[in-house]
Amino acid sequence: SLTTAMAASARLLFRGAGLKAYTANVNSGAQSSFGTTLLRLSPNCSSQTKTQIKHASHFTYHPDPVPTMYGPTTKMNLFQSVTSALDNTLASDPTAVIFGEDVAFGGVFRCTVGLRDKYGKDRVFNTPLCEQGIVGFGIGAAAAGATAIAEIQFADYIYPAFDQIVNEAAKYRYRSGNLFDCGNLTIRAPWGCVGHGSLYHSQSPEAFFAHCPGIKIVIPRGPVQCKGLLLSCIEDHNPCIFFEPKILYRAAVEQVPTEAYTIPLSQAEVLQEGSDVTLVAWGTQIHVLREVVSMAQEKLGVSCELIDLQTILPWDTETVCKSVAKTGRLLISHEAPVTGGFAAEISSTVQEECFLNLEAPITRVCGYDTPFPHIFEPFYIPDKWKCFEAVKRLISY
């Protein structure tokens, strides 16, 4: 009826504070100011929610010192350090190709920005949306002699490729008697918590792959390490999985060498020497533990030795055991769930090698045995308070 129509148009006019924008983009909510207007006009919406107010980052990023032995440096964040490594690789290795979902336009985390324009669409290209295909394709390209760099969009989505990684890539050399191998394959994936990632954008799956002889697993703590370790993985003659802490993509900024350089794999790094407790972690968690080292020193007078494992497989047992032989106490921390997490492997090996040196049981501060939750993230993650409390208990055992 006419009254209904008039009422409808009246409602339309009422909503029309951003009418021009509304008419142009009636169904494209992302671009419409209609949504903004509605929120502004609503009397019950406060400007900041309770969870937002308390929800700052759970760590402070501690940059590496400026490296001096690799030539000139420039300021880069983590995703830029990845781009730089890939740029160096494509420049020096004509067989190198980069592929995965959305890598052509630069990638959802901007790791491949500019590379397609610079090196060509046959070298930096999108694949269909299929992780088992991405990794399978990468294995074949690597076996045929190309340097294959595969991107999995989130580590949470790597599982369809699990068969190709575990049954094929890892075993290619062994099962063929070294006639064939896919050492030219590197798989990169964003990894770890990001504040709001929930079940499927926050996972740390390294433990699933640690049980697989034949592959290497590497996780950097910042841009300088990232570029050097990624280049080592690409150069390495074994298939490597390189997990990139996504929360650090923008947050981690360092002076990074512009030329290519490598940081050795399977060599853990002692970031800070100490005498009372050994702390072991990798990726983002290193920055959490850095703060715990300061807290332990200030509040407890405890001297901690901090080790960045860097390579999960094959891992540097010697550096960790040497440290625990000295301190007698070990704390291992990771975001991944505690049961069957990689801390369990470290703990088991250390108690075999250092049993008589131990002053206290080995402690693991890890995620709970739940899927990674959304709204509960601040309570789920192994934050500095949980780690600090664990150091206290280790000391007073």
Partner: protein
């Protein structure tokens, strides 16, 4: 405010200051969707999958080896055709002897190729020797055609010290770098996306190299098959997909494996050129593979060949197929439609192969197979250290420790381990 009805021919809805579509004539419109072109259709109609009259089966010879359409006869030389025949029969002889050797407990496992010899030899002959082969496990004839010696087939099955694979895998998991045959692995269809990647790398190398990827109709159900088909088409790879549709995946017949028109009908869904051939006709297999290879490399696109055949033997030595199919069915294929018999009829019709040739060849091939067999059986197994190498390119400290631990254990308990069988 005026508002005309949405389905008016004018197609224009007018609101104040407002949504204003351009005027259009809906009878002339074409779809603009980025996802697909084609036409609009105004009546509801589901497309019928064409299972009854599906993709036809290309053949050159009939079951008696007679050429049907002379223009399709590849007119290969006598030498070439005799070689085809000898390779197929040598494979058959090797299969019989190795199958029996498993029954006698001499090797742990075996898979025969009975009935599918034509698919192997016809396709292998159509390729360049430098073309890379990804197989599944029932393509030994491809390797044999390329010249893999009997000694090395046997060495792999016996896992002895001559095995190129260093004794690490079950029998029939062959590989040869020299002959461009990627080592077989047990998981099915994993080779399919790998073949796409290898073909892409070959394309970039620009050396006129193709890749062929073999798999069965059962493996074609795996997700990896879908992945490989889609990737090869979108990434424009010079690749031949060769599906051996032999009627069974262990005990599962094709009507429980798929409901569509076999594997060939899937090709067009990926934008891939596809053909179905008579796999028991070595010339049809040859012609199709030859043309597919030529075009795959020239045009950088994948081809799908579905070779219809029949698995005359059991799935493997762990299988007794009388549990799920009749002896009559198997006998039909063995006696009435066999690639070896077909080719023999073709040859005898041209007086290229006599009874005498047959007798002396059978005797000779049996002798060479038995010699290789006896030799392989006597050889030592590989050195125990080889259990620990090639996990990575270099041995890790961890593995060095584990190897030392093993040797210490062996020294202490040596009476309980078959050390004498292994190379010192």
């Amino acid at each position: 405010m005026t508002q005309t009805k949405p389905n008016s021919h004018e197609g224009c809805i007018v609101l104040p200051g407002a949504l204003r579509q351009q005027p259009f004539d809906s009878s002339e419109e074409k779809p603009q969707f980025p996802g697909a072109s084609a036409e609009f259709i105004d009546h509801l109609e589901f497309i019928q999958p064409n299972v009854i009259s599906g993709i036809p089966v290309y053949r050159v010879m009939d079951r008696a080896g007679q050429i049907i359409n002379p223009s399709e006869d590849p007119q290969l030389s006598k030498e070439t055709v005799v070689n085809f025949y000898q390779k197929m029969t040598l494979l058959n002889t090797m299969d019989r002897i190795l199958y029996e050797s498993q029954r006698q407990g001499r090797i742990s496992f075996y898979m025969t190729n009975y009935g599918e010899e034509g698919t192997h030899i016809g396709s292998a002959a159509a390729l360049d020797s430098k073309d890379l082969v990804f197989g599944q496990y029932r393509e030994a004839g491809v390797l044999m055609y390329r010249g893999f010696p009997l000694d090395l087939f046997m060495a792999q099955c016996y896992a002895n010290a001559d095995d190129l694979g260093k004794g690490r895998q079950m029998p029939v998991h062959y590989g040869s770098k020299d002959l461009n045959f990627i080592t077989i692995s047990s998981p099915l269809a994993t080779q399919i996306p790998q073949a796409a990647g290898a073909a892409y790398a070959a394309k970039r190398e620009n050396t006129n190299r193709a890749v062929i990827c073999y798999f069965g109709e059962g493996a074609a159900s795996e997700g990896d098959a879908h992945a490989g088909f889609n990737f090869s088409a979108t990434l424009e790879c010079p690749l031949i997909f060769f599906c051996r549709n032999n009627g069974y995946a262990i005990s599962t017949p094709t009507n429980e494996q798929y409901r569509g028109d076999g594997i060939a009908a899937r090709g067009p869904g990926y934008g891939m050129l596809s053909i179905r051939v008579d796999g028991n006709d070595v010339f049809a297999v040859y012609n199709a593979t030859k043309e597919a290879r030529r075009r795959a490399v020239a045009e950088n696109q994948p081809f799908l060949i579905e070779a219809m055949t029949y698995r005359i033997g059991h799935h493997s030595t762990s299988d007794d197929s009388s549990a799920y199919r009749s002896v009559d069915e198997v006998n039909y294929w063995d006696k009435q439609d066999h690639p070896i018999s077909r080719l023999r009829h073709y040859m005898t019709a041209r007086s290229w192969w006599s009874e005498d040739n047959e007798r002396s060849w059978r005797k000779q091939s049996r002798k060479t197979v038995m010699e290789a067999f006896e030799k392989a059986e006597k050889r030592h197994k590989p050195h125990l250290d080889l259990m620990f190498t090639d996990v990575y390119d270099e041995m890790t400290p961890n593995l060095i420790r584990q190897r030392e631990s093993m040797w210490r254990h062996i020294q202490q308990y040596k009476d309980h381990y078959p050390l004498d069988a292994y190379a010192k």
